[in-house]
């Protein structure tokens, strides 16, 4: 069965679509009301975020747009120190979309929401006419999370001299998986799309001095660390040989002239943590789901000598030094 314009009419076909696909998977007490807005319990400091997801193909090695749309929003909440609670699901469906694909994507979205501990409380669907270059399905998710009492939300301007920089795993997997599929290159690379709930909660619950925390998505590690360095007015020095990249992604990048430092990820984060808490932080991340390849990749230098030199430096494998700027231009094809 295919999506038709009638599925977006607001009438019976729409109700049936919601019932047969969305309510089936997202079944919960808030959504079942099917009212204009979800009324949910909550208090204190809220973190709110929204993100839209467009990716071709919608189902890719290691994931799909449904899983991606939960991970992206949940990870954004986690990075603010919040515990993600509720998310919304706005779908723009293209006429002609296969019902089977929609079913698969929404089922995966529901499963990922369960894994991340969030409830899909409200949603919306619209159907648009077929456009040749669109993937058939666009999803927007907004998310709400609660920031626990006594938690200092980490921020890019909070880096301190001597902080260690830890990345939670191999870089470039999502980007390479999507690009490889689009180009028809056969390899074993799968997307890393994952909710980083366990590792971030462990860091917060153990009271570690995490000064900054960011998921490494479009723009890559280079762009995130430049934002850190410039917001905190410091220099970050990295060791190239310590930056974790899987051998398959390394080969893939070699062939296409890509740099993993600028590639997008959907299940990786980077933190700047007080040097005395770094060892513990690394251990906690490594013990967590999706954190087994976490590595300390560099440190923060803040002081007189770096005052005029606010940037990110990498020590190369042959012992040279170069600046790592933020990503410039469009970089690479859109991947999320």
């Amino acid at each position: 069965m295919k999506i038709t314009m009638a599925h977006g009419s607001g009438g019976e076909s729409t109700s049936r679509l919601i019932e047969e696909v969305f309510s089936k998977y997202f079944n919960n007490e808030y959504l079942s009301e099917l009212s204009d807005s979800a009324v949910v319990p909550g208090a204190g400091r809220l973190a709110i975020t929204t993100d839209s997801f467009v990716v071709t193909p919608v189902i890719f090695p290691g994931g799909d747009i449904g899983r991606l749309s939960v991970c992206g929003t949940v990870n954004d909440l986690l990075m603010s120190g919040a515990v993600p609670k509720y998310i919304t699901c706005g779908c723009i469906l293209e006429e002609g979309l296969d019902m089977e694909i929609l079913d698969k994507v929404i089922a995966s979205m529901a499963e990922t929401a369960r894994e991340a501990g969030v409830v899909v409380v409200t949603g919306d669907t619209k159907v648009v006419e077929k456009h040749s270059d669109v993937s058939g399905l666009i999803i927007n998710t907004s998310g709400v999370g609660f920031i626990p009492e006594g938690i200092d939300a980490p921020g890019p301007s909070h880096l301190e001299d001597g902080d260690k920089i830890i990345v939670s795993g191999n870089l470039g997997d999502h980007h390479a998986a999507i690009l490889g599929t689009r180009m028809g290159i056969e390899n074993d690379i799968i997307s890393d799309n994952a909710p980083l709930v366990e590792m971030t909660r462990k860091l917060m619950d153990n009271g570690l001095r995490v000064h900054a925390m960011r998921d490494v998505t479009r723009g890559g590690l280079g762009t995130v660390l430049n934002e850190f360095a410039s917001a905190s007015k410091c220099q970050i020095e990295l060791s190239e040989t310590d930056i974790p990249v899987s051998p398959s992604v390394k080969d893939f990048c070699g062939i296409l002239g890509l740099n993993p430092i600028y590639m997008g990820n959907e299940g990786k984060m980077v933190i700047s943590v007080h040097k005395d808490d770094a060892e513990k932080a690394l251990l906690l991340i490594k013990e967590s789901k999706y954190g087994e390849n976490a590595t300390v990749i560099g440190e923060v230098k803040k002081g007189k000598e770096s005052a005029d030199n606010i940037n990110v430096i990498v020590r190369t494998k042959i012992g040279g030094k170069r600046v790592v700027g933020p990503m410039y231009g469009e970089g690479l094809p859109r991947i999320c």
Partner: protein, 347 residues
């Protein structure tokens, strides 16, 4: 580092205190690899690395870009190009600007992709922007061979193909003051190292063929330092480069292409420095002849940067008006361009 010989080389390169030595890399991939490995930070101030005219996008003249733009705006015509070229400015904007105005421009990863497109879309005329050096020309030869075999009438190429030896002679004669050349490994893999051996004898300047790994580039620079003033030739990339080169690739090129004059950004027309389709294959040419006109955006000094006459920092636009996000000159557009590499890696 656990290689004592390499450690010694690294130490000598850092502590060199003789006369100033200027070494030119004439391959854009070398420019990128040198930046990527942070090699300039490992050299004494008295060893200067200069990027030469080896980035294909950078040396392409305005007339070629303008023609491609015109073609992209022509009915039932689609221009196919590699990524970098799409952002290079012509007289009135870039191919990317033309695309936004409704021009039909598609980025592809390999010229061979165009065969499938031409087969699947018989009503569209495809024009491939065939730019590049000796390394890329064999792929265009394969493209023409395939198009000929399949009797495809809707695929053509617009050529701006360059070769190395004549432009190296031009640089030595006109820009001068080069003590040694890091010879391009990929070009040499196709042409054979022999052409650089011949050039070293003719010009009395040392040439060392190098691969792209950091260690090998350091060894190449070290070898050139020792050979400076004396001339000579070495091939340090023997795993990929033989003296005679890739004979089957050369054969394919010779079947479809012939030596031609070619216009280079900032250097004008250099006799015998290009390749063009042979007369018997001109049905595959999209109008490549006489594309010599070239003008740079106001203030842009790409032409002087390309021949090593000035360093990117000496251009008044560098890092100010001209950045990778808003590139005025071609050298800031391409990831192999010298300005882009100097800017991105803080050289």
């Amino acid at each position: 580092m656990s290689n004592p010989a390499l450690d010694k080389i690294i130490e000598e390169l850092k502590n060199y205190d003789g006369r100033e030595i200027r070494l030119m890399e004439v391959c854009g991939t070398h420019t990128a690899a040198i930046s990527e490995n942070g090699i300039p930070s490992m050299l004494s101030d008295k060893i200067k690395l200069i990027s030469g005219p080896g980035c294909p996008v950078c040396v392409t003249v305005t007339a070629v870009i303008d023609t491609l733009i015109e073609l992209s705006l022509t009915e039932k015509t689609c221009v196919l190009t590699f990524g970098d070229l799409i952002r290079v400015k012509g007289t009135d904007g870039s191919l990317a600007d033309a695309k936004a105005r409704g021009g039909n421009v598609r980025m592809v990863y390999s010229p061979m992709d165009s065969i499938k497109l031409a087969k699947d879309n018989p009503d569209t005329n495809f024009v491939f922007a065939a730019i590049g050096f000796e390394t890329t020309t064999p792929v265009y030869a394969l493209l023409i061979e395939e198009a000929e075999k399949l009797r495809l009438k809707n695929i053509k190429i617009l050529t701006s193909l360059k070769t190395m030896p004549e432009v190296i002679r031009w640089v030595v004669k006109n820009a001068g003051n080069i003590d040694g050349f890091i010879a391009p490994g990929h070009v040499a893999a196709v042409t054979g190292g022999g052409i650089f051996n011949d050039l070293s004898k003719e010009l009395g300047i040392p040439f060392v063929v190098s691969g792209f790994e950091g260690e090998q580039l350091l060894m190449t620079i070290y070898a050139l330092l020792k050979m400076a003033g004396k001339g000579g030739y070495k091939n340090l990339y023997k795993s990929a480069v033989s003296e005679e080169g890739n004979l089957s690739a050369k054969e394919k090129v010779a079947k479809y292409f012939e030596v031609s004059d070619s216009s280079w950004r900032g250097m004008g027309k250099i006799p015998g420095s290009g390749m063009a389709l042979k007369p018997e294959y001109r049905q595959f040419d999209a109008g490549s002849y006489g594309l010599d006109e070239d003008h740079e955006p106001a203030g842009c000094r790409c032409a002087s940067v390309l021949v090593g006459a000035i360093s990117p920092h000496e251009c008044p636009l560098f890092g100010k008006k001209c950045t990778p996000d808003n590139a005025h000159g071609a050298c800031m557009v391409s990831t192999e361009g010298s300005c882009y590499n100097y800017f991105i890696s803080g050289r």
